[in-house]
Symmetry: C2
């Protein structure tokens, strides 16, 4: 079971680097080299973060990416949802008649609890938390 995919992982790492030096602009390849991860892949990730308003981008020579938000306002839950979709664990499995009912099903209640816990834990971490 994977909680955090590579895309989200790389995004987190890149944002951490950028947050350490908040004013500087970084090109995708510069960051990729620093983090030792594939350049084109990271580039696409940063483009997505730009579209989602986490980064600002500047084209042309001397351009690159820079944080659009304060590091303590970028939460892990958001990054994970950007790259992995919403945290939905309760895709009701027992469509068959076995499941007693949607309102009483124990399994569903438990899965909902797990989902809430995951979301709340991931909501409590931001990029700044990871820098101490």
């Amino acid at each position: 079971m994977k909680l955090i995919t590579k895309r989200a992982d790389y995004a987190i790492r890149a944002l951490c680097v950028m947050a350490k030096n908040g004013q500087r602009m970084y090109s995708a390849f510069e960051l990729a080299k620093k983090l030792k991860i594939p350049g084109p892949f990271l580039r696409r990730i940063l483009q997505i973060l730009n579209k989602r308003g986490v980064l600002k981008s500047y084209k042309g020579q001397g351009g690159g990416f820079i944080l659009a938000l304060q590091p303590d306002n970028i939460f892990l839950i958001d990054l994970i949802e950007i790259f992995q979709g919403p945290v939905k664990l309760n895709e009701c499995l027992f469509k068959a008649k076995i499941c007693p009912s949607i309102s009483t099903c124990i399994l569903r209640r438990k899965v909902d609890e797990i989902e809430k816990f995951v979301v709340s834990e991931l909501s409590s971490i931001n990029i700044n938390s990871l820098l101490n």
Copy 2:
């Protein structure tokens, strides 16, 4: 993010049916028909449950599968680990220098907490819980 795959799902459903009528023997195809899921696929799943000691099997005409354990002794965590491997969410992501240290890393602590919670919730449900 998928918490429970089809294999585990089907296993749970099949075990629920079998638990309702604990003494009876069911062939893989009979169960598959009842649950409206693919026969050969369920058959492989039951074979695995047999190998893992959750079911007993009997070959030959009139043979089939029957529970090897009491329904309240078959836990969801075990079924999930059989079909999806151990619940390990903490595959350390920050191998790079970004992560401060394995002992202080906030992210790691949080992921460990999530993992513990998932395991404990899934350990609290058994096949019997699902039959009320």
